[in-house]
Symmetry: C2
Subunit: 502 residues, 2 copies
């Protein structure tokens, strides 16, 4: 142990993302430096340095001369038990002045965003700082130039893949529509057509499932760049989790704080989506914006604003972008939750008789558009080409090959606990509240519990009789099932009317 060093002792405390260091109140470093709880400190081990929040220990949990780290901090430092770390005051972060300037309503320039995003990606912001930054950028407080600068900063701070060819196809759905899991189907069709589509997806932010959560019930998704390249070179496409790569790493940090805050922000959304696409080497990106009263985007005006922002930011980065606005009045497919949505995807790819028609149609429209956009199909023929590739089994064969290359295809599981919810009176389904529905699926355990969520048995306009099943709750734990039912009791998400909706 050096004069200012502390010996690391494992305590196994998982604080999720934020790095925490545990130190004795009476340790010589605390005394000499004058640290208090919640102070930000710099922890060094060999050539690595991280910023951590101090939690003071007032017990014999740690012996004199010892310190401990949260799980994430052990990982970030590459530390082993018994290693000796140095602890000093955290350096002043100049970028926090820029952040405060944004909070006070001032515009930030590119340099300011580079500084902020650099510090975010390096883990130098506390969760409080991250929450403040996200809040300051939410609610329409970022103009076009700021959004372009934020996007560029997020690309620059991470790796950027060069595929050495063009076009490189990509797609993204601006969330909010439960069950709208078209991506695996679109990738299968487009790569079956011979195009290159190296798809990286995220896990859920505020929804019951992200594409990465769904694909994880089918195959391995945490590939590194080398493994991803191997899959793409062999099969022309992949379906991996972007978080295992270092594409736009600041986005991964921000998203983990956005989730508990449940914040939506146009600028953050556009920067998040486009920085990932640009970093992943895409040249042609198709964006699906579902519009509906309870979708993420609720009105045509809002969709138009988001579309214009996306197009302008994409253009500033040399990315070809096409936006499709789709109906977002109700969930797509039947399942909501990772495994339940995977079952729907498999049914469409296998051409099962019971496959959800709406999911199939949406995937065909998107794939057709992408085939034309990338110059593979003559305008007007993309959709029929997509249809041919799906119905011939070519897309299903390609999907299986991609999953095999990623580590093997498996059947998604089924939840041990299921409970049907039935109609309390007869009527027509006149409304499905996607936000409440998503909440129910999350309370039931999705996406953390992969087989949890719910299966819808009705669509808008359907006629139902008293006692007919409306949906089935799926859960892995009784507590979660109870919690979803408790919320449902006061927050039903299916509206039954006496007459057919106009």
């Amino acid at each position: 142990m050096t004069a200012t060093g502390l010996r690391l002792r494992p305590l196994g405390i998982d604080t999720q993302q934020e790095h925490v260091i545990y130190m004795r109140r009476d340790c010589h470093v605390c005394r000499a430096e004058g640290f208090e709880s919640q102070t930000r400190v710099e922890v060094g081990l060999r050539e690595r340095f991280i910023i951590a929040t101090l939690n003071v220990v007032q017990s014999e949990l740690l012996a004199t001369g010892e310190a401990s780290l949260s799980t994430s901090a052990w990982r970030a430092l590459g530390a082993a038990p018994g290693d000796t770390v140095t602890v000093t005051h955290a350096p002043t972060l100049d970028s926090l002045s820029a952040m405060r300037s944004k909070i006070y309503g001032h515009r930030l320039d590119a340099q300011a965003f580079d500084a902020i995003i650099g510090d975010v990606a390096a883990g130098r912001y506390s969760d409080l700082h991250l929450a403040a930054f996200l809040t300051a950028c939410a609610g329409g407080r970022m103009d076009l130039q700021e959004t372009i600068a934020l996007t560029r900063a997020m690309v620059h701070v991470g790796d950027r893949i060069d595929w050495g060819r063009t076009p490189i196809a990509d797609k993204h759905c601006v969330g909010g529509l439960p069950g709208n899991r078209t991506t695996p189907i679109v990738v299968a069709i487009v790569t079956a057509a011979g195009l290159t589509m190296p798809k990286t997806s995220s896990r859920a932010i505020t929804s019951p499932a992200g594409t990465a959560d769904v694909m994880e019930t089918l195959t391995r998704v945490d590939l590194d760049v080398t493994a991803m390249r191997r899959v793409v070179e062999r099969e022309g496409g992949c379906l991996v989790w972007g978080g295992a790569l270092t594409l736009s790493p600041a986005d991964d940090v921000l998203i983990r704080v956005e989730r508990p805050l449940d914040l939506d922000s146009d600028a953050q959304l556009v920067a998040s989506v486009l920085s990932k696409k640009i970093a992943a080497g895409a040249t042609h990106a198709l964006i699906d914006i579902p519009v509906g009263p309870t979708a993420k985007v609720r009105s045509e005006e809002e969709a138009h604003r988001l579309q214009a922002l996306m197009e302008q930011v994409a253009a500033a980065h040399g990315l070809h972008l096409r936006v499709l606005r789709t109906h977002g009045s109700q969930p797509v497919g039947r399942g909501v939750g990772p495994a339940l949505e995977a079952h729907d995807v498999l049914a469409v790819l296998r051409g099962a008789a019971a496959a959800p028609v709406d999911l199939r149609m949406r995937a065909l429209v998107l794939a057709g558009e992408l085939l034309e956009f990338c110059g593979h199909s003559i305008p007007g023929t993309g959709r029929s080409e997509a249809w041919r590739l799906l119905d011939s089994g070519a897309a299903w064969a390609k999907f299986q090959a991609i999953c095999e290359a990623q580590g093997g295809l498996r059947e998604p599981g089924v939840a041990p606990l299921q409970e049907r919810v039935t109609a309390e009176h007869a009527g027509y389904v006149s409304g499905i509240d996607s936000r409440r529905l998503a909440r129910v699926a999350k309370l039931a355990g999705a996406p953390g519990a992969p087989t949890a969520g719910l299966d819808l048995h009705v669509k808008l306009g359907d006629e139902v009789q008293l006692g007919m099943p409306l949906f089935t709750l799926h859960a892995e734990a009784p507590g979660e099932l109870a919690y979803a039912k408790h919320y449902l009791a006061t927050h039903p998400f299916i509206k039954l009317s006496d007459t057919v909706a106009p």
Copy 2:
């Protein structure tokens, strides 16, 4: 242990404010309920319930069936080792929807503020939520009605003292001017005149010292309402820390997150100041707003806006309010830091020959104004009456009596480490940057280390020769002294010019 209970084992981890519960990943409650790290849970013990953030433990730190709490959570629950707590999912906080609405730029009504502030005061907001709420209200995003509603909500959620008489005098300085410690002197003068002035003060938020920090170097300040009443009934006034009372408790919660974020917000400032005054039973409040290029309020326009907001919010709550705008171009007195400022206060009260003239003059102006405002002195005679009470020793006698009633007067300490900083060339003092100066004092350890800070030896306009002392750094730990010097090397706060400033 009940079926869903967990036995509490002390770990002694201090996370400062946020309640944290430590649970084993494989514990039956985690498994049954499906909790993950950072989940918000409700922890119950007998009739008390708190919301806490879950940190998962993946080691033998806790045995099966055991859980632990952070220091603040033990305190909030009144828990003892071996107690059995119940843990369930935290209920959905409806007020978070209101908070998000504010983030998205919508106005909030009184009901929304009541809901938010109620949850804040009850500790139901995570630090992330608090950071988001503060950010959403910063930067001029609150209108008058919202500020009135926020103030009212902050008063309602705590206790409110009724002194059964009028006037009840109070004063407050809108910070930003280091060393401007007039409050103890004003209270001594005003109560010596026979008026009632039960003064509650806060600790530093972003400054090197708050009045409570300064008073704590002289006497006991953590009195409860009963003890405070006893002091006021006997002496007509007191100088206590507001945080030990439950006046505007939401403010105490918010301030602890504002501090690391270093955020200023007009609405939050007004609500914080006025809710404390109203809850403390004040009828007449005098507000000192120093205006200067490096003070908190930098321009006459800003001061005017803040004054108008304060007057309107005070009027809406039936509080008589008078604002004095004062010069804020340089620090007041000599010392900056709890004990150093206390020495200045004592020098003025004792009538010491070396007492800082500027601090004395400011205190006399404020006390005189307050004597007139409360109807004690005829307009135009308040200042000479204040002068008489100070120079006759009446104020010093009253101050000693108040400190004795609070628990005894003691001399403030002196820092073990002191280092003079001298002029590197001759010239005139043409500028003193209060923000940088405050930062240096904080890096030297203030206010955590009570005797730390700095002592100024020059004022604006002073002529200095090469090698003359400009100020003396005071520290309790070598690490802190070094840190202050390191910052000073690149951020000097005293500007020397060749000619006298115009």
